[in-house]
């Protein structure tokens, strides 16, 4: 995984709340067994509308998505994270994220930065009036900067550390294989097995 310290790019204002994972990527795309190439499924139902913000020419090439509250609710599909990343997003900004989506994002290397809804509104306006505005998401300083807007964001300390170090979770856990074996030696005998 690449290290994430700070990212600067243009942003897309998604003026919607309760963006559930079925909207981010519909179930039909979950049939694939590959790990990449999900960009065509991202918001596919909404993208049929030519006026949908992702289709507007001024927002092409954006790497930061700015959404309303309750982003990523619903199904736990990690494909939602992959689809956002495959499309080119590095960061999602929202005033509230669903837990599972947020967890999935951290592991996949997509930064979810939580900001007050006031800040989200200000960012929406700023980006809408100037789609070329450079938005910086500084993970090191936990800060979003765009034009005159400077706002601190909320991110889990551990996720931040992992993103900044570019570390793989399983590798970290396997360093504790002895502790796992020790725990297993003391599990009650009545616990079930599947095979």
């Amino acid at each position: 995984m690449d290290k994430f310290i700070s990212h600067t790019g243009t942003a897309i204002p998604l003026r919607r709340s309760n963006v559930d994972t079925d909207q981010i990527i519909p179930a039909e795309y979950l049939k694939r067994i590959t790990r990449h190439g999900f960009e065509d499924g991202l918001f596919s139902a909404w993208r049929k509308d030519q006026e949908f913000v992702l289709n507007l020419p001024q927002y092409q090439g954006a790497t930061i998505l700015i959404s309303g509250p309750d982003f990523g609710t619903g199904s736990s599909r990690e494909h939602a994270v992959w689809a956002l990343q495959d499309y080119g997003f590095m960061v999602v900004l929202s005033s509230r994220f669903a837990d599972i989506f947020r967890g999935n994002s951290g592991k996949g290397g997509l930064l979810t930065a939580q900001l007050d809804q006031d800040v989200i509104e200000a960012l929406w306006e700023a980006v809408e009036s100037d789609p070329t505005l450079a938005v910086t998401v500084d993970l090191d300083r936990r800060e979003v900067r765009a034009g005159s807007i400077v706002a601190a964001f909320d991110v889990d300390d551990y996720v931040r550390w992992r993103l900044m170090e570019g570390l793989d979770d399983i590798g970290i856990t396997l360093k504790h294989a002895d502790a796992i074996a020790e725990f297993e030696a003391h599990r009650p005998a009545f616990m079930p097995v599947t095979a």
């Binding site: 509250p69 599972i100 996949g108 095979a195």
Partner: protein
């Protein structure tokens, strides 16, 4: 200070704890299905890692499987590829799998409990958000993403930060005709789809204690619809009676040791929750959703809400969007909403008691001509039990279709889908836009309401139907 149920189960599973890091939690049971596992197994292969505990891992085919002609190869090439990938991966990594045609096959959250694999005090995970279902036994059970699936396969653990706890207390008696499904829809409407975020919900109170295990599973199943990661109910005599004698439940002296332990799994009197919600069971009535998220629900006696009455802008826009998608007008009585398709099934309401409730309503009645009704058992075992009780003949005599086990129209990954514009009453758990097929519209209901709706052709409760002598 005392501990809550969730905290007790958590503490009993901490493998490693270090300042500033998430706890490393041991996982007792890892359930796997074909949709969220292929990329995880791919990851193991790429890094040359084995599955640490295949004996604590169990796979079943459910999301993609057809519910008719299951003897034939799966027609959709992509569905077939996922199912084939699961079979190949399980063979390669030594994981037991219940494939289509196996007597233990079914929806992952129906299969675990009915085998007796889900037990109080366990940690249970699956790459599926409705893993919360297993909390009905007093297990800490939650959905995980595909990279977490890979993590559990490789290490049998997960690094996690403790959840907050919320008590959902429901005292009193549910009125006649009001079911677990109505109760949980009312809870979600009260908490909101985001209100449970970061929490494990513990359902308690006399109305919860009075529920069967299957009713409790319906409740815990939809915890995720309130935004919560998990739902739990303290194990009691009902739980022990359900488990006793099941295939994978302990027996002999181990049974006694297990029950002794399970009895300790209750929230201590002096424990505190981070939040609390209280509902009066006696005030509840059949509940249905009108919108495009599970929090947009009302008593069946109500009317479609008016966006103008919304609390704020965000709410108003959400209601407007939902009404537009659902093609509903404010003020319309919910009972006047006409339905094309009725779906009975899913991990919320695809168990034997649900099918019995449907059969009770359908017996001696017929499904309206304008309605297509699908009854899909949650597992092969449920199907067999229903047939043993003659429920299948009640369904088919009424004009419903009796299908094979699977997720089916709950998420429309198999051929069971709504056509664009079609409207369903569904016993499943999600009414998101397009969930049951692109352009389809979903009203979430209880099994009894689903059956009455099928007969009436519009949203209805059994008490609305003319009595049959």
């Amino acid at each position: 200070m005392g501990q809550t149920l969730a905290e007790k189960v958590w503490e009993a599973h901490v493998v490693r704890r270090a300042e500033g890091e998430p706890d490393l939690l041991y996982i007792d049971l890892h359930l796997v299905h074909e949709v969220t596992s292929p990329q995880a197994f791919d990851g193991l292969r790429a890094s040359g890692r084995p599955v640490r505990r295949p004996d604590l891992t169990l796979a079943t085919e459910d999301h993609n499987v057809p519910t008719i002609d299951i003897g034939l190869p799966i027609a959709d090439p992509i569905s077939r590829a996922q199912v084939d990938a699961l079979r190949d991966n399980c063979a390669e990594f030594g994981v037991p799998v219940y494939s289509l045609g196996n007597i233990e096959q079914g929806i992952v959250h129906v299969v675990g409990p009915q085998l007796g694999l889900t037990q109080p005090g366990m940690t249970v995970v699956c790459g599926d958000s409705h893993t919360s279902t297993h909390g009905a036994f007093g297990a800490l059970a939650f959905g995980i993403g595909t990279s977490e699936v890979e993590h559990v396969l490789a290490t049998q653990t997960l690094p996690l930060k403790p959840f907050k706890t919320m008590a959902v207390t429901v005292d009193g008696d549910l009125p006649a005709g009001v079911t677990a499904k109505d109760l949980i829809l009312a809870v979600i409407a009260q908490i909101g789809t985001g209100g449970g975020q970061g929490y494990v919900l513990e359902y308690r109170g006399s109305a919860i204690e009075a529920l069967s295990i299957e009713g409790r599973m319906t409740i815990c199943n939809m915890s995720i619809e309130a935004g919560a990661r998990a739902g739990m109910i303290a194990p009691d005599e009902t739980t022990f009676a359900y488990l006793k004698g099941r295939d994978r439940a302990p027996s002999g002296p181990e049974w006694d040791a297990a029950v002794d332990y399970w009895r300790t799994l209750r929230t201590d009197d002096d424990a505190t929750f981070d939040a609390e919600v209280i509902l009066d069971a006696a005030s509840l009535s059949p509940f249905v959703t009108w919108g495009t998220n599970p929090g947009q629900g009302l008593p069946l006696s109500g009317s479609v809400p008016n966006p103008a009455d919304a609390a704020g802008d965000v709410d108003r826009i959400a209601i407007e969007r939902a009404l537009e998608y659902m093609d509903l007008t404010p003020g319309m009585p919910l009972r006047d909403i006409k339905i094309d398709t009725v779906f009975v099934g899913s991990c919320t309401n695809g168990r034997i008691e649900d099918l019995r409730a449907v059969a009770e309503v359908l017996k001696g009645r017929t499904v309206a001509n304008s309605v297509r009704m699908l009854v899909v058992p949650g597992s092969v075992r449920v199907k067999m039990q229903a047939q043993e009780e003659g429920l299948d003949t009640v369904f088919t005599a009424a004009g419903a279709e009796w299908r094979e086990a699977g997720c089916s129209m709950c998420l429309a990954m198999n051929p069971d889908k709504l056509a664009p514009g079609e409207r369903s009453a569904s016993t499943s758990n999600r009414n998101f836009e397009g969930r049951q097929g692109p352009g389809g519209r979903t009203h979430l209901v209880s099994p009894a309401v689903a059956a009455a709706t099928a007969v009436a052709g519009h949203l209805a409760a059994p008490s609305d139907l003319a009595s049959i002598a």
